[in-house]
């Protein structure tokens, strides 16, 4: 993420059909606002456009880490957006500031828990967009990173049908369920590989238990301890299915990245996967129903055409829902609605 200047920045603009408003950024400014397509959507609002005289209400958009600095500087004309996207914890001061905001913005409903028992003021969901250039289907990646992709595939021996787990290394993520499933599937599909990359919290004891379980699958079970930004798109793009059999709410990012990579996602029917628009997620299995999960995964393994179609649909949905342009449009509408008043 690009770090914004420490002093608030003034953005001036007006949304079509709405009153003029001025946006002040406090704290981090999301990286995706600098994507060309997002800038186009925010034309007239973003810096570099024609500067309008301050008129109408001011919308203060504050990142979670900067919420504490808002205290004591609000004026009655200001509308405050508390943006909790990406936040893992809030100090008491930050939580208090968020609760008094006019709008709480989250990238994932789980973030609302950071505010404690109090129900937040009006809140809105704005999914963090995915870099759809970096996270692309394998065909596109091969055009750009051919030798790197091939080397990566060879190194990790991902020649077979790969089930990718991307989630927390914690029991609620369900990696152990997927390892058992892979073991069962190997009786019918001897080229099945299960690969796991951590997305979220890591419980070392649980990971060890999974490593032990994985040993029976030999080199066809890969449990990565870390994953970096450069190789993450390759893991997703080389997967046949991304599967997170979660039994409790976990981060939604794996489902979004799977969609961006054009790979079908099968998960547990829990929030936030259950809340995602149709198309981004291929199938959800009832929590704890290993048979239903196995059936969904096997269907995709057995019918490559079905898997391809599901992956293509996911990518189309990602382009419609997860692009920086789509997020910029939504953000502009939120600011505009807020500026227009109740």
């Amino acid at each position: 993420m690009a770090v914004a200047e420490s002093r608030p920045r003034n953005l001036t603009g007006s949304a079509p059909g709405a009153a003029s408003f001025r946006v002040e950024w406090v704290g981090e400014r999301p990286w995706w606002l600098d994507a060309q397509e997002a800038r186009a959507e925010l034309d007239g609002v973003e810096p570099g456009g024609r500067v309008q005289p301050a008129a109408g209400p001011v919308v203060v958009h504050a990142s979670a880490a900067a919420l504490g600095s808002l205290r004591g500087r609000r004026s009655p004309a200001e509308r405050v957006v508390a943006d909790l996207s990406g936040a893992e914890r809030l100090s008491r001061r930050e939580a208090r500031a968020a609760r008094s905001a006019d709008l709480v913005l989250v990238d994932d409903e789980r973030r609302l828990r950071l505010l404690g028992r109090d129900l937040p003021r009006p809140w809105a969901l704005l999914r963090t967009p995915v870099d759809l250039v970096e996270h692309a289907p394998i065909g596109t990646l091969l055009e750009r990173r051919d030798s790197e992709v091939k080397r990566f595939r060879r190194l990790h021996r991902l020649g077979g049908r790969t089930l990718l787990y991307a989630g927390p290394y914690r029991p609620e993520g369900g990696l152990h369920v997927l390892l058992d499933l892979a073991q069962a599937l190997r009786e019918r599909y001897d080229d099945v590989v299960v690969a796991a990359i951590p997305e979220g919290e890591v419980d070392a004891r649980y990971r060890d238990a999974c490593e032990r379980r994985a040993l029976a699958l030999g080199h066809r079970a890969i449990v990565e301890w870390t994953v970096d930004d450069a190789t993450r798109p390759l893991w997703y793009a080389l997967a046949h299915v991304v599967c997170v059999p979660a039994t409790a709410p976990v981060g939604m990012r794996p489902a979004l990245l799977a969609a961006a990579a054009g790979v079908p996602f099968v998960g547990g029917a829990v929030s936030p996967f259950a809340d995602l628009p149709r198309g981004l997620v291929h199938a959800l299995a009832p929590t704890g129903d290993a048979d239903a999960l196995a059936a969904q995964v096997e269907l995709l393994l057995a019918e490559p055409a079905r898997a391809r179609a599901a992956g293509d649909a996911a990518r189309r949905a990602a382009e419609a829902e997860l692009s920086p342009a789509a997020a910029a449009r939504r953000l502009r509408a939120l600011w505009s609605g807020l500026a227009a008043g109740p």
Binding site: R154, L155, R157, R207, D208, A209, E211, R212, A214, L215, A216, G218, H219, W225, T226
Partner: protein, 345 residues
């Protein structure tokens, strides 16, 4: 103990640590403990799995391995050596390729020697020209295995496919001459693997090389790699019916030796040439973390429970090649009959 060990406190401390580790390791093996405060005494670091020969008794030469080819990178190598130097006795720089093909093999030897480790490697001597021989001798390498596998051109080239008998013979003889001329302390072992193709020549081979400037002549028994490769098993001199003559026990390698492939993957022993049962990767926290890691512990537990389900273990007879003793080190990975050269002179 060598004199230099006694006068260097750091070396002395390490030697004492190694000695103290032996009975603990032996006890943990005998008791079948999957986790004990022990460390491997012999660490096999695969410098590369690329080879320029197609030997008939080798999975690499037979091109049946499926894992990726590569060379260990320098940062990974130095991190391994830095970590094992305080406790390991020996580092072995060969596994499944020709180590002299590694562009930094001399640096690798020197780096390990500078940290007080015993260093050895095995070579097919195809790349051991005069310049390389001088560099190897100057590097401080402690032991070199010179694989000849044949007394005659016909036999040698039948076993070591793509090798040239005259070139290799010339390289080895020049190496031994240079060793003598420079007064190098390196232990040079001439080695022949006893298999159906070479068996008739073994006695003459020993006789010929005992009178050379080699230190030891090794007659190495054929490793069938756990009976996984029919072509290799068929080369056995004796009928390999899989009977070791002793009751199956946990493999001592799991408690004594650490095999690290060029990409950091740890395997149980050299029979897992294709890394079908990876036991972790030293990139994830280092050698000891992997040595005591979940997969390694699970593997020990399987063996302790009599479960030899890993592919390389199922039909293995090589596990019985050596037995740990309370105060002795582990084996050297192969079953070898060592004959001192010139011992009758």
């Amino acid at each position: 103990m060598k004199r230099e060990t006694l006068i260097h406190p750091q070396l002395l401390r390490r030697r004492l640590r190694q000695k103290a580790n032996m009975p603990v390791k032996w006890a943990s093996y005998e008791l079948g403990l999957e986790h004990a405060p022990t460390f491997p005494d012999r660490v096999y670091v695969e410098s590369t799995n690329v080879c320029n020969l197609d030997c008939i008794m080798c999975p690499t030469g037979l091109h049946i391995d499926t894992r990726p080819k590569g060379y260990m990178d320098w940062p990974l190598y130095t991190s391994i050596i830095d970590e094992i130097a305080p406790f390991a006795e020996a580092v072995v720089l060969h596994s499944w390729g020709e180590p002299l093909l590694h562009p930094r093999i001399i640096d690798m030897i020197e780096y390990a020697k500078a940290r007080g480790l015993w260093v050895e490697l095995s070579t097919n001597a195809t790349r051991l020209d005069e310049e390389m021989a001088r560099r190897v001798l100057a590097s401080g390498l402690d032991r070199i295995y010179l694989s000849m596998d044949g007394l005659t051109k016909e036999t040698y080239e039948k076993v070591r496919v793509k090798g040239n008998f005259e070139t290799v013979l010339g390289n080895i003889e020049r190496f031994l001459d240079l060793k003598h001329e420079l007064g190098s302390g390196i232990e040079a072992d001439i080695q022949i693997v006893r298999l159906s193709e070479t068996d008739a020549e073994v006695a003459a081979f020993v006789e010929r090389w005992r009178r050379s400037r080699a230190d030891i002549v090794n007659i190495k028994e054929l490793d069938t790699w756990g009976g996984q490769i029919d072509e290799v098993s068929a080369l056995a001199v004796e009928d390999g019916d899989g009977d070791t003559g002793v009751e199956r026990a946990p493999c001592p390698n799991l408690w004594y030796h650490c095999h690290i492939h060029w990409d950091g993957v740890v395997v149980s022993c050299s029979r897992d040439y294709d890394a079908v049962t990876p036991l972790g990767n030293v990139r994830n926290g280092g050698v000891l973390k992997t040595w005591h890691g979940a997969r390694m512990r699970q593997m020990r537990q399987w063996h302790e429970q009599g479960d030899f389900c890993a592919k390389q273990c199922t039909d293995c007879v090589e596990w019985a090649w050596w037995r740990p003793t309370p105060f002795g080190g582990g084996g050297t990975g192969g079953k070898v009959n060592r004959v001192g050269a010139q011992e009758e002179e």
